[in-house]
């Protein structure tokens, strides 16, 4: 456990050295300039649009980090041959791999936490400058704590994407890993179609295969409650609980697969 922690902290320090957290500046500038400019364009819907923009940006920036850092986590060490030095130390392969994973997750969580803080500051500002009659027409306050539900599920989604990227990075090149991770993420958003495929095709076999794929491919659309929280629609705690359980189980499955694949690799 201690070893995993050491590796994780090093991954985080490395991401800071690589200026990964510079995206926070871009995020802050994007939100602040949008909150300033957007009022003229949106016919009174600026708070709704800032909420949407903020959540989408947190998701996109996190996704870019998860994919493009995740795919290089193992590959970089192999390419630089530093993996030989690392694995000659009293460290097991799974500790190395899990350390890498949790290091990137730590980077993502800190990243999302800072973005969330900036997001709430901008929303609080917009709430403060909005007249009371306008505020009364909003379905929820600008700084609605329910937005955190969407952000929590975004973090879980990013953790799953990171695990998938790490899995691919254990056996393929960064380019291929990026394509495969992105493909899984995209297909994971079409899961609903796979489930409903049976209603549109006559072949029961094809319908069963589609349904099987539906259960196997990660259901990324389940993590998306952005629209609901922005409109103050109910997102039951039961739904969040099941989604968190699903996400964590899937992450464990992917990480275990990555550990097995990595333990089979020959570094001699």
């Amino acid at each position: 456990m201690k070893v995993i922690g050491h590796v994780a902290v090093n991954v985080f320090k490395e991401s800071v050295r690589d200026k990964v957290l510079y995206n926070l500046v871009v995020f802050a500038v994007l939100l602040m300039s949008a909150s300033y400019l957007i009022g003229e364009l949106t016919a009174g819907q600026d708070v709704k649009i800032i909420k949407d923009l903020g959540l989408a940006s947190i998701s996109v920036f996190g996704l870019l980090i998860a994919v493009f850092i995740g795919i290089g986590l193992v590959w970089k060490e192999v390419e630089k041959r530093s993996v030989y030095t690392l694995l000659s130390k009293p460290m097991r392969r799974q500790e190395f791999l899990l350390g890498k994973y949790f290091g990137l997750v730590l980077t993502l969580i800190i990243n999302v936490a800072v973005m969330t803080a900036a997001y709430y500051v901008v929303l609080a500002y917009m709430q403060a400058i909005s007249p009371p009659n306008l505020r009364a027409s909003w379905p929820a306050p600008a700084t609605d704590p329910a937005l955190l539900k969407a952000i929590a599920l975004i973090v879980l989604e990013l953790m799953l994407v990171t695990a998938i990227a790490l899995l691919f990075s254990t056996f393929s090149s960064p380019f291929l890993s990026a394509i495969l991770t992105t493909a899984v993420w995209v297909i994971g958003h079409f899961n609903q179609d796979l489930r409903d495929y049976g209603a549109t095709i006559p072949s029961p076999l094809a319908a069963s295969i589609a349904r099987g794929v539906y259960y196997v491919i990660p259901n990324f659309s389940a993590f998306d409650v952005k629209l609901q929280v922005v409109h103050a629609q109910a997102v039951p705690l039961g739904y969040i609980g099941v989604t968190i359980a699903y996400g964590l189980t899937y992450i464990a499955l992917v990480l275990l697969t990555a550990v097995i694949v990595f333990s089979k690799r020959d570094f001699k």
Binding site: A43, G44, K48, S137, V186, H189, L227
Partner: protein, 299 residues
Amino acid sequence: MKVHPAAWAALVVLFAAVIGLQMIQADEPPLATPDGVSTNMLYVRSPQILGRATLSFHALLADIYWIRAVQHYGGTKLSTAPNKQYDVLYPLLDLTTSLDPYFDVVYKFGSVFLAEPYPAGAGRPDQAIALLQKGLRTRPDKWELAQGIGFVYYWWLADYQNAAMWFNRAADLANAPDWLRPLAAVTLAQGGNRASSRMLWTEIARNADADWLRDQASFRLKQLDALDGIDFIQRIVDQYRRRTGVPPASWDDMMRTGLLRGVPPDPTGVPFRLDPADAKVTLDPSSSLNPLPSAEHPR
């Protein structure tokens, strides 16, 4: 490596040239388009395709389409082009509400500006009703959408049977306000009348969640005030005519007899117009309240 000073100079010159050429380009008159040819492009019109293509970013894309719809409406309304068209307004609002069915203000926008007669609006109350009905299919408990359909039938189509039916349907839904049921009854019994119209617009103004909707309601209420003002002053003009046997040639004639103390203004401050030929009181053509709602449909 040291950068040659000439490279820096070339960079500055090229940057200045780009800005200068863009300024020249901006001064060029826009290229003409043939009559009837729309320049409003919408690459994707299928809500289903767009919904799938946006993955988990439906709401953000809905915002972009909403901004496009507002810009399209505003730009077209202000345009002085003879062939201006609101041809992508409905598709834009349709896409927006398909991507984000909870985006309430879009339905309100559609119920006013899709239905408003051309050139101030698209002149398509049928599309306004279609948009609101689509909203009701997704959210059958939303009384505001049913009231919006009633409003389009009432205000833009003067179809009071259907208007009353929809006001009643809205009144049946949860959390509907008390004023809907009496409005439906009055609409059914008397058709449109100014008191009902005033009630409708007053409630719209009170519940407005956007400045443009509040402004629109305020404008319509001023129009109703203007209609009341015209009726009131017309009665005084008729009184003058009965008293003197001739119609007044101007407001001065009326003031000399003491029937008026000054030139009466409309709610925007522009004096009403008195036609000396038939002694009819109307809005001045320069008034921003033109055109008033039809006098035959007492809206």
